[in-house]
């Protein structure tokens, strides 16, 4: 659209201002993590202070934060891996070898993703208790795999559909095996899509709270549960809390920044590119 220069400048400044406002809480959290506890409570709030790393030291190493972080890492990596392992071949077949049931299968998969977590939490709790899956890594890995599988199948299917059909045809005429066909297409052609899908699974599994909170106690509790324990630490250790909070969001924020071009596709199950 053509807009005259002065209006354009005004719009740009407005955009900067809104972006700054939206980002400000995060900036403030990061800043607070480098303050002393006294500075964190200073009135008026201060932007200029002597930065310290003691809260980071405190939050990361003087507590059992790292245990929670390790739990999150194990559960996230494993569930993402299994979801890709099960989902990529499924997406491949659904994209290139559709049957009469393909449409129904895809819609059904979406409906499982849309199922409210509270709809299944009660039986999951009981089943996990009886099968002794409660408070185990395996338990959450199973749940998060199921949470991300529809996403993997829908996203990867849309990436496969983007591959020109001639390439596939050529391979088939040359009589390549299923494994060769799969390898060359998956690894060579849709690798960026695969990577973006993996990043999205990572983000969803890393940030999940509801299942984690209700199905773990201490042994397998992820960082999201640990952070929620600060809800009662009102006004006591903000700097330490901010350091822990910053540390626990850093990996996925960076992952999200890298995956931002694919974020929309993932959020809408591939419906919007």
């Amino acid at each position: 659209m053509r807009i005259d220069k002065r209006t354009g400048f005004g719009l740009t400044i407005t955009t900067y201002l809104i972006a700054f406002l939206m980002f400000f809480p995060i900036l403030w959290m990061v800043l607070t993590s480098f303050k002393t506890e006294a500075d964190a409570f200073a009135f008026p709030p201060t932007l200029f202070f002597q930065p310290t790393l003691s809260n980071w030291q405190n939050a990361l190493f003087d507590t059992n934060f790292t245990e929670f972080l390790v739990n999150t890492a194990i559960i996230t990596l494993a569930s993402t891996g299994v979801a890709l392992l099960l989902g990529v071949p499924a997406a491949y077949a659904l994209a290139y070898y559709p049957t009469k049931r393909t449409d129904f299968t895809l819609m059904w998969l979406i409906s499982t993703r849309m199922l409210p977590p509270v709809g299944v939490i009660v039986p999951l709790f009981v089943i996990f208790r009886d099968l002794q899956l409660r408070d185990t890594h395996l338990g959450l890995i199973i749940i998060y795999t199921a949470m991300n599988l529809p996403l993997v199948i829908w996203m990867m299917r849309s990436f496969f559909l983007d591959v020109p059909y001639e390439i596939l045809e050529a391979g088939r005429i040359d009589g390549v095996s299923l494994w060769q066909e799969f390898y060359y297409i998956v690894v060579r052609l849709v690798a960026p899509g695969l990577f973006a899908t993996a990043l999205l699974c990572t983000i969803f599994a890393w940030n999940e709270f509801f299942f984690a909170f209700n199905l773990t106690v201490t042994n397998a509790a992820p960082v999201s549960v640990y952070i929620s324990s600060f809800k009662t630490a009102e006004g006591l250790f903000w700097a330490k809390m901010s350091a822990a909070a910053t540390a626990s969001v850093l990996p996925v924020v960076i992952a999200g920044w890298f995956a931002q071009r694919q974020l929309v596709k993932g959020l809408t199950m591939g419906a919007v590119k």
């Binding site: 955009t15 009135f43 409210p116 009660v122 299923l178």
Partner: protein
């Protein structure tokens, strides 16, 4: 006649190849089976259990009194005076969050759909709230921003000589909505921005050449084009917001009283604080029904979208 002949000849020639291809295709069609079995086991079996449990009198604190009660839990849950409040809270929260994020997301998408210096950095900053773990957002807003004594908001008010507001105590629902709006505005923005970027620029320019004002272009060109994106975004966000839990658990724990208790939080309390598995399951079924209404709409929109894509 000649057509049939030529077809037969062709088929004869390709017979061997077709047989092999068929076998290959058959094995390839089995590829989704493991994933589908996994999904059925992990999602559909618990769903059946929810239905089964909802027909039982079963409190985990009194396991010996467990028994079949038929549909009795359903009216029991409905007539509980807090049920109506909880459903209304859920709808109020969801509706407000969706409408506010839609408006803000639209403004941001329009602002970002221009060429300006630092656009990538601005977009990156704007999507970050969505990437932050919900529990982190919640503790951050609850303590560092909303704390009535030392929080940033209270300090700002104090600097201007105003009384320090206690947001979570006096405006609990507004606070919860604010936090969730902050998290979900980027979601709307991203999808609407994708919609704007798929808009045909020539059409826009032609409209402007003809002297259409900015508002007219938006109303009759941009908005109709965005309709599908808006529908998609609204429905997806609605589903997620209907199940919000972490933000409420951390900030208000559903209170004061049950002022900010939504269905998710109510079911959590019924199941894991009162340990009433039967009634919690009946509540879950109501939550599933509510979500399914939205899912049905969603599937319809998606189907329509696919048809459009095929036609185009």
């Amino acid at each position: 006649m000649s057509e049939t002949l030529s077809l037969t000849t062709k088929r004869d020639q390709q017979n061997e190849a077709t047989q092999a291809t068929k076998r290959a295709h058959y094995s390839r069609r089995l590829l989704p089976i493991p994933a589908l079995i996994f999904m059925v086991v992990v999602t559909q079996i618990p769903l059946l259990f929810t239905l089964g449990f909802s027909l039982e009198r079963w409190n985990l604190l009194r396991p010996t009194r467990r028994g079949f009660v038929g549909l009795a839990n359903y009216p029991a849950v409905l007539t509980n005076p807090s049920f109506v409040t909880i459903v209304l809270n859920t709808l109020f929260l969801t509706l407000n969050v969706v409408l506010i994020t839609l408006a803000l997301g639209m403004i941001l998408a329009l602002l970002l759909n221009r060429d300006f210096y630092g656009r990538n950095i601005v977009r990156t900053m704007l999507i970050t709230p969505f990437l932050i773990m919900p529990t982190v957002s919640a503790v951050l807003w609850k303590n560092v921003l909303f704390n009535p004594a030392f929080g940033l908001l209270a300090s700002l008010f104090a600097i201007f000589g105003l009384p320090r507001p206690d947001m979570l105590a006096h405006h609990p629902m507004v606070s919860v909505i604010t936090i969730i709006v902050w998290q979900w505005t980027p979601f709307m923005m991203l999808i609407l921005l994708a919609g704007l970027q798929s808009l045909d620029n020539e059409q826009l320019e032609a409209a402007q050449m003809d002297g259409a004002s900015g508002w007219l272009v938006f109303r009759f060109l941009v908005l109709p084009h965005l309709q599908r994106y808006i529908e998609l975004a609204v429905l997806m966000e609605t589903l997620f917001i209907l199940s919000v839990f972490g933000e409420i658990f951390v900030t208000t724990s559903g209170g004061p009283g049950i002022q900010t208790t939504n269905l998710s939080f109510g079911i959590y309390q019924e199941a894991f604080q009162r340990w009433d598995i039967g009634q919690a399951s009946a509540l879950s079924v109501y939550a599933i029904i509510l979500a399914n209404i939205v899912v049905l709409l969603f599937v319809r929109v998606l189907r329509r979208g696919q048809e459009k894509a095929v036609l185009a």
